[in-house]
């Protein structure tokens, strides 16, 4: 449940007449009694309402917060760290230089894995968005997963461009060229930056999630274009080193194992980061709700205090008039 929903609930749970109004309107004994009842009702309602909200409030935790899941998460984080460490060690010191590329082949052990993770992250975003748009599977959790994965995708896509550019400078002699692969990757990055910006545009949570999901699907359409661009247009970028669809592998021995380890390690790192990022989204919602509840209860207490002051001020003249 979103913050705006709570606000709606708050509005609907308001008493029909405010205690302040009752206090102002009545100067008689009956009026004061009525105001006292209203005052107590307001307090009780505020309290019950706060309790009701607290019962509805998600604890701000996910399935990854259980002790067992935390152990798995720690293991996954450690495994990805060790995997990346081994990839760096093998890539920089153990593997031999390539016949054609020389030492520059060492960048191949990180550039394709990082690019793969970007594709994977955008794929997860698109899948979660598609499931969100389908009424049967619609859930705010899917929207959170889409947002979290989209952010990671942008990070890894930017790293893909950066490492590609660093590889391109000594190989092609330029940092950047309007090659089909490079251009479509840059477009992909811009599309998903736009997606993240769109998620920040305020609005009803469901509306924001729906329009973001549509934007994610539109942006994802660039992924196959990006991937097959090296086959469709014969420009500067080399073709895939590993083509899983056709089992066409152009790398062997320890070089292939290092590349495979790179893929595995960066995928694990992505999954670990995605879970952490998802936990942030859940916790952010819970934190906002708790703050909103506290602010609303505080506001209601102020109302009750004001009524008490009004009653204290009005009770003296009424009492003196009767005697």
């Amino acid at each position: 449940m979103q913050v705006s929903d709570h606000i709606d609930e708050a509005d609907s749970s308001e008493p029909s007449r405010s205690t302040q109004a009752v206090g102002r309107e009545h100067g008689s004994e009956q009026g004061i009694a009525q105001a006292r009842v209203s005052q107590e009702r307001a307090g009780t309602r505020a309290q019950d309402w706060a309790r009701q909200l607290r019962a509805q409030r998600p604890a701000g935790t996910t399935m990854w917060d259980s002790p067992r899941a935390r152990k798995w998460l720690a293991f996954m984080g450690l495994a990805s760290l060790v995997g990346i460490g081994f990839t760096v060690w093998l890539g920089l010191w153990v593997t031999p230089p390539d016949v054609n590329m020389g030492q520059l082949v060492r960048l191949v052990y990180i550039h394709p894995p990082v690019a793969w993770v970007a594709y994977l992250a955008f794929g997860v975003t698109a899948l979660a968005s598609l499931l969100y748009l389908w009424p049967r599977t619609r859930s705010q959790a899917l929207d959170k997963v889409a947002g979290a994965s989209g952010e990671l995708g942008v990070l890894f896509c930017a790293l893909t461009i950066a490492t590609g550019s660093i590889w391109g400078r000594p190989t092609w002699g330029v940092w950047w060229t309007w090659d089909a692969r490079l251009t479509s990757t840059a477009l992909l990055l811009l599309l998903f930056i736009g997606y993240l910006a769109l998620r920040k545009v305020p609005g009803n949570p469901h509306t924001v999630a729906r329009r973001s999901a549509i934007a994610a699907l539109v942006a994802f359409a660039d992924v196959p274009i990006d991937h097959f661009s090296v086959d469709w247009w014969h420009t500067l970028h080399q073709r895939s080193t590993v083509e899983l669809a056709t089992f066409d592998i152009k790398i062997y021995g320890i070089m292939a194992w290092t590349l495979a380890l790179g893929f595995l390690a960066f995928t694990l790192a992505y999954v670990w980061l995605l879970i952490q990022r998802y936990r942030i989204e859940v916790l952010k919602g819970a934190s906002q709700r708790a703050e909103l509840e506290a602010a609303l209860v505080e506001r209601r207490r102020e109302d009750v205090d004001q009524v008490e002051q009004i009653m204290a001020a009005s009770s003296v003249p009424v009492g003196s008039g009767r005697s």
């Binding site: 009780t44 701000g60 060492r106 990082v114 950066a162 980061l273 916790l283 934190s287 209860v297």
Partner: protein, 76 residues
């Protein structure tokens, strides 16, 4: 070799910074939620004490009169 090192440094540093930043956000939000919950608990306690006419200062309605009987409150 400088280009290769630069490539590795860019990737490793970026992922490490992102991971640290994510961890920091997680801790910050957890603390913020805890603070808000504590504030709410305090307010709730104060509301109970306020609703206890005749109770001793600081004493809640429940402490003064036992659990509140809501059966005759007409759905309030």
């Amino acid at each position: 070799m400088a280009y290769i090192n630069a490539g590795y440094v860019v990737v490793l540093a970026s992922v490490a910074v992102y991971a640290v930043f994510t961890g920091a956000r997680l801790v910050h939000l957890r603390n913020a939620k805890l603070r808000a919950s504590q504030r709410l608990e305090k307010l709730d306690g104060a509301a109970e004490a306020y609703l206890a006419p005749g109770a001793l200062p600081g004493q809640t309605q429940q402490q003064a009169f036992g659990p509140r009987d809501r059966s005759s409150m007409g759905g309030i």
